[in-house]
């Protein structure tokens, strides 16, 4: 499973002077390499496990844009994730569209939701913002539970299309390739934001460190916050969009489950929140561990692993795995 992302590593050695275009190209190459490796393995389980891990790469990277760069802790990651999943269910049912247009719609829905959250929580900082996003999650879940068109509390079945797009031989393989591309795009977007000279990266960091000082220094904090919540929301919804097709079934309790909210926070923290590589590393490590634990021990144990790993890391390595390496280099 973890070898799925190894091809992404070659971009690590020389990140300093790499331009945006070169990085996007590197991500595309890495994505193609991952797809090729997975095709080489060719087992349905490898596709499933890789999809599971990579959906978390997208989710963690998306969370980090707001949580890591701007310092706004979003407890409602599950709400955005589920919004994406349910967009697929609703659009798929209403218009009969296939996965790719559904993902585009999910991005729109998630972006709108993110913008709304940003507008609603303009004046909230720290724990208040976190609680507000938690409330948002509960409200959305209640709406979905009472929306019988998408199955209500009973959940909805989504049947995988019979015909698989060329050149894939199974739908699992196609789904996995889509998620690989999404993950590569998410990472590229995150790095572009982080390194951008437009001031978003620097502005968000200023927002994180001291919002009032940033405001006083002329950083358009409000606009940056809205941009960050919108992008982050759109990407989290995109992460959730393939979910109904992965398991062929979604229901509100699991789609809005605390596991997604926790993982979205835990993965960037374990990897390191300061850079695009942190969520990637954290998601690959933690999601692989969870997938392995689900298969070998039990599904209860995988949440225990998240809990223990999270506590150990925030105590012993407050800057995540990346922080450990940076300390070693100094």
């Amino acid at each position: 499973m973890s070898d799925a992302t190894l091809p992404a590593m070659p971009v690590l050695p020389a990140p300093r002077r790499m331009g945006h275009a070169a990085f996007w190209l590197a991500c595309a190459v890495a994505a193609l390499a991952v797809i090729a490796v997975l095709r080489g393995i060719g087992s349905e389980y490898a596709y499933f496990a890789a999809t599971f891990v990579l959906q978390y790469v997208v989710l963690a990277t998306a969370w980090n844009i707001l949580g890591g760069y701007a310092g706004y802790v979003n407890f409602g990651a599950a709400a955005f994730f589920a919004a994406g999943a349910y967009t697929t269910v609703a659009i798929g049912k209403a218009l009969g569209l296939s996965l790719l247009p559904c993902i585009a719609f999910a991005a729109l829905v998630g972006g709108a939701l993110g913008l709304g959250t940003g507008l609603l929580t303009l004046r909230l900082r720290g724990a208040y913002f976190a609680i507000a996003t938690l409330c948002l999650s509960v409200v959305l879940q209640t709406l979905v539970v009472n929306w019988s068109y998408v199955g209500g509390s009973r959940g909805a079945y989504v049947i995988r299309p019979r015909d698989v797009p060329w050149p894939f031989d199974t739908y699992g393989g196609y789904l996995c390739a889509v998620v690989v591309v999404l993950a590569a795009a998410a990472i590229a977007i995150a790095r572009t934001i982080e390194k951008s000279r437009l001031g978003l990266g620097l502005g968000l960091a200023a927002l994180r460190d001291d919002e009032q000082a940033a405001e006083a220094a002329g950083v358009p904090t409000l606009r940056l916050k809205l941009i960050a919540t919108t992008i982050s929301g759109a990407m989290m919804a995109v992460a959730g969009a393939p979910l109904p097709l992965l398991g062929s079934y979604v229901e509100p309790n699991s789609a809005f489950g605390l596991a997604y909210a926790v993982n979205a926070i835990a993965m960037p923290l374990i990897g390191g929140t300061a850079s695009w590589a942190g969520p990637l590393i954290g998601a690959v490590v933690l999601a692989s561990l969870q997938q392995a634990a689900t298969v070998t021990i039990s599904s209860a144990a995988n949440l225990l692993i998240v809990g223990v790993v999270l506590v150990v890391f925030v105590c012993a390595a407050p800057h995540g795995i990346l922080g450990l390496f940076k300390k070693g280099a100094r």
């Binding site: 949580g67 310092g71 802790v73 609603l120 929580t121 303009l122 004046r123 909230l124 720290g126 724990a127 208040y128 976190a130 609680i131 507000a132 938690l134 409330c135 948002l136 999650s137 509960v138 409200v139 879940q141 209640t142 709406l143 539970v145 009472n146 509390s153 605390l258 926790v262 926070i265 835990a266 923290l269 929140t273 209860a300 144990a301 949440l303 225990l304 998240v306 809990g307 223990v308 790993v309 999270l310 506590v311 925030v314 105590c315 407050p318």
Partner: protein
């Protein structure tokens, strides 16, 4: 009496009783989150831990669950103090509490929850008090003792806590540590010691709330989830450090939820209550009764 009016009155009364349970759950958090600025997202998990222990002890001894929860408070106080020591050492001292501290308690929550599943099992546990099946009737209004007694005990405990905070020197020091820890240092009081004490009290309140919870309904390891949003909502609506604000907000929350449930069905009640909180946050971020944040 008009049946709609009777339904409304019953909804309000049982909402108040439910609010008593919320008050019990939220009072401890009002101390840690409101006064100490420790965002203990695991508070409901401690409450469920207390409830499970009460259920097990009740099964072994048959003592009244609420008495058992009072007996558990010293142990929970010690547990809370120990956790605060770790929290202070790893986060507060370094100034990392904003995100890392939150994540720490998130992790603690999962450890407690899954620990309970692995140790006791995922099924529901209950503890029956001797009065659990008695219901007083006042005209058209039902007063089940299963709800009334825990609510009263909770309010009593909160009253005691409020007295302690207002009247005793230590209690005032706790209230002061929230406002100005440097001033406390000048008075030769160690703010860390005070916060450790207060966090212990907060967790001890969680044990009491757990006892109240297990009298009201059977409890399973993940029962805490539904309380996370609610207790934070109550504490924020109550204006953080005010215990009375917290009680009022808890009662209001219980009534809103219960009336919504009796008129529109229980599946809608979270949306109304949490939607209301979202609006409160958007319009008045410091809460109904709060000091400016």
């Amino acid at each position: 009496m008009d049946p709609d009016l009777a339904l409304l009155l019953n909804g309000i009364v049982s909402g108040l009783l439910l609010g008593g349970l919320y008050a019990a759950a939220a009072a401890g958090l009002s101390v840690s989150f409101g006064m100490l600025d420790v965002v203990n997202i695991a508070h409901p998990a401690f409450m469920v831990l207390g409830a499970m222990l009460v259920a097990l002890l009740w099964g072994a001894t048959g003592i009244d669950p609420l008495v058992l929860s009072v007996l558990l408070t010293p142990a929970f106080w010690a547990l809370g103090a120990a956790i605060y020591v770790a929290y202070h050492h790893f986060f507060e001292r370094r100034g990392d509490e904003a995100i890392q501290g939150l994540a720490f308690f998130f992790g603690v929550m999962f450890i407690i929850e899954i620990g309970l599943v692995l140790a006791i099992g995922p099924e529901q546990h209950f503890a029956d008090a001797s009065y659990a099946n008695v219901t007083w009737r006042l005209g058209e209004i039902d007063l089940p003792l299963r709800m009334l007694v825990p609510a009263l005990v909770a309010l009593l405990a909160i009253g005691g806590l409020a007295l302690f905070l207002r009247r005793t020197f230590t209690g005032r020091a706790i209230a002061a540590v929230a406002q100005d820890r440097e001033a406390l240092r000048l008075l030769a009081i160690d703010p860390v010691r005070i916060k450790r004490l207060a966090f212990g009290i907060s967790i001890a309140m969680a044990a009491l709330a757990g006892g109240a919870l297990v009298v009201v309904q059977p409890v399973e390891a993940s029962s805490g989830h539904i309380f996370i949003g609610r207790v934070f909502a109550v504490v924020i609506m109550g204006g953080l450090s005010s215990l009375w604000g917290c009680v009022l907000a808890a009662l209001a929350f219980g009534v809103v939820e219960n009336v919504t449930a009796s008129f529109y069905g229980p599946s809608w009640s979270p949306a109304v209550a949490f939607g209301a909180l979202l609006l409160v946050l958007a319009v008045r971020p410091q809460g109904f009764f709060g000091r400016a944040a």
